[in-house]
């Protein structure tokens, strides 16, 4: 009985999580501050966090910006090299910011990437404040 209860509880939580998320179609329609708040919010599910090599989770664009500034070159190269660009994929697919994701895919250096994320976050914050 306990097992069934906990299962139902877990299912409720999962459904709650999905129903709270705004669909891509809705985001296209809102086209403003709602988009901004979604892009700047933390990713809810631990499976969708970005895990650095040190197992440190990154949950949002703001955190990514901070971590990129502090990250050492070696762990950066583990995520960004000739074969892969994990930050670009995560930003495009999980956060949902295609513009920033595309830009990051062109960049290969840590400080350039940190600056690009910072520029983008500042801009989204400004737009969100304007209640566009």
């Amino acid at each position: 009985m306990n097992f069934v209860e906990s299962f139902v509880e877990k299912l409720k939580k999962e459904m709650n999580f999905f129903s709270k998320r705004i669909s891509h179609y809705e985001l296209q329609r809102t086209n403003g501050s709602e988009c901004a708040s979604v892009l700047l919010s933390e990713v809810k599910h631990p499976d969708h966090y970005f895990y650095l090599n040190s197992n440190l989770p990154i949950k949002s664009l703001c955190e990514l910006s901070e971590h990129l500034n502090e990250m050492d070159e070696e762990s950066f190269k583990n995520h960004v090299n000739e074969e892969r660009n994990d930050f670009s994929s995560w930003v495009s697919n999980t956060i949902g910011d295609k513009t920033l994701g595309k830009k990051l895919s062109e960049l290969k250096e840590k400080d350039e990437m940190a600056k690009a994320v910072q520029v983008r976050v500042d801009y989204i914050k400004r737009r969100a404040e304007q209640n566009y």
């Binding site: 086209n31 403003g32 988009c35 949902g96 295609k98 062109e106 400080d111 350039e112 520029v119």
Partner: protein, 92 residues
């Protein structure tokens, strides 16, 4: 070339691509402090990536042989596309 440059140096090089600029003009464009800008310019002069204009010695420009590489750099470091007015998500 660009492997040895700091981000500030790259940004200054890109800003000098269109036309020669004085330190004040670079400073206004980059939002750096005056001393900071002067340091970066001095560093770039030392590395021989920029030169003083002969007709206006207070202005600086990118060396001719580096222009192609700096144009490539400009394509990469164009922050303007991150602050466009399109929707954040669908980019339309």
């Amino acid at each position: 070339m660009n492997m040895q440059l700091s981000l500030k140096e790259k940004e200054v090089l890109v800003s000098l691509l269109d036309k020669p600029k004085s330190i004040e003009e670079i400073q206004n464009k980059m939002f750096f402090g005056f001393n900071e800008t002067r340091e970066v310019v001095r560093e770039l002069l030392k590395k021989k990536h920029i030169k003083k204009e002969e007709s206006f010695p207070t202005t600086y420009s990118v060396k001719k042989e580096l222009r192609k590489q700096v144009r490539e750099l400009k394509r990469r470091i164009d922050w303007a596309e991150l602050i466009n007015d399109a929707c954040f998500v669908c980019n339309q």
